[in-house]
Subunit: 210 residues, 2 copies
DNA sequence: GCATAAATCCCCCATTTGCGGTATGTCCTC
DNA sequence: GAGGACATACCGCAAATGGGGGATTTATGC
């Protein structure tokens, strides 16, 4: 884990100017050694021959595969590679698409050189660098929905419902009759405005009600 | 948004030594002004009178409320306050407990002074500073389970199942007979080793199979 | 003190679900 | 060309689920 530099970097970026500037920046010290690729296909072709500590990937990559699709291919290949996105896109689809596809970091172009070097270093050492606004959005996905209209008992029932327990199973675990379980569930459905178990489980998990 | 310093900080920390050292560090420039509280109760009592840009909260806080419980109280009060945890705990319960309760950042004690100042600055400016290993664990919660044993058609059925559609509803949407839907669902249950709709929905959502 | 919410229990009844089979045709691989 | 996965389709049956009612007790708040 505690591998010492120079770290091998691979930059995948289709813009000629950005590519050479980034290469210049990253190779300016002896800390990193950066090779560059101008599209996903070239990079994927070279990948079997190289073993980068970190991939820096643009999202827009000309006519072929984009960065997120390339990431998915890498992931499917089974190799565990660190990839940080380096892009101008900050819409949810790009950000969470990249993270779900295996990115370990997400930096916006416009990050200052000194912060960028720091982020690259962090990524090589097991961190997950993200531009401030991106990081904030990522953590806010954990923040749970405040106003949960369910009573304590209803929440208990809902939890067991999400575990796949039947009415009978719930009644045994809570030491109440099946009828009471039914009543609680009816109330839960009314409050959450759903009409089936599947919906209530989906809501509960997605909105972290349990 | 682009408020200029000095930023008002509030540090909640029960250890006398850490508290005074942190205060010294944070107040060393003109960038921040930091007031300190030695437990959650003292801080919550003072809260109506103050308006901090950022709260730095320890998790272990002596005999009363701990940091996460304090966070929940703040959240329930309805005030939108930035809170960064500053702690030695890096178990999942602490990390994700704090994030779910509203923390916007998570720093480990042991962060160097210069990185800490940078993190505090970032938090004040809308970022979400996290110690590298923490950040990595947070982003890895997005990484989706690679090998999904379901066929394409089965995934389509599963998606509709998660939307709360009945067999009949699914059969209409996919233009296949109810019997076929049932067969697909039987196969899905076998592959995922579940025996009810609630379980399959819970699995699918939690493991991002859909 | 009275309204309200929560928690407990019961009935009826139609629909849905889950499990056990079986069966056909396609496409792909060995 | 046999075997396998996939998608399609059917039957029967018992159990679970969901919607409609109604009911009591215990807190809690105004």
């Amino acid at each position: 884990m505690a591998k010492k530099g120079p770290f091998q970097l691979a930059l995948v970026e289709d813009d000629e100017e950005v590519r050479s500037l980034m290469k210049l920046l990253l190779n300016s010290g002896s800390e990193f050694y950066c090779s560059v690729y101008e599209n996903a296909e070239a990079f994927l072709a070279a990948l079997p021959e190289i073993d980068p500590d970190l991939i820096l990937m643009d999202i827009d990559l000309g006519p072929g595969l984009n960065g997120i699709e390339a990431l998915k291919k890498i992931k499917r290949s089974g190799r565990k590679l660190n990839t940080v996105m380096l892009t101008v896109h900050e819409d949810d689809d790009s950000v969470f698409g990249a993270l779900c596809s295996g990115a370990t970091g997400y930096l916006l172009k416009g990050t200052t050189p000194v912060k960028l070097l720091d982020a690259v270093r962090q990524a090589c050492l097991g961190g997950a660098p993200m531009s401030p606004g991106i990081a904030r959005r990522v953590v806010s996905t954990f923040h749970i929905g405040q106003s949960n209209p369910l009573s304590t008992r209803e929440k208990e029932v809902l939890t067991l419902l999400c575990d796949g327990e039947s009415y009978r199973g719930i009644s045994k675990k809570l030491f109440i009759s099946g009828s009471t379980v039914r009543t609680h569930i009816k109330h839960i459905y009314e409050k959450l405005e759903v009409h089936s178990r599947a919906e209530v489980v989906a809501r509960a998990i997605r909105e972290k009600l349990v």
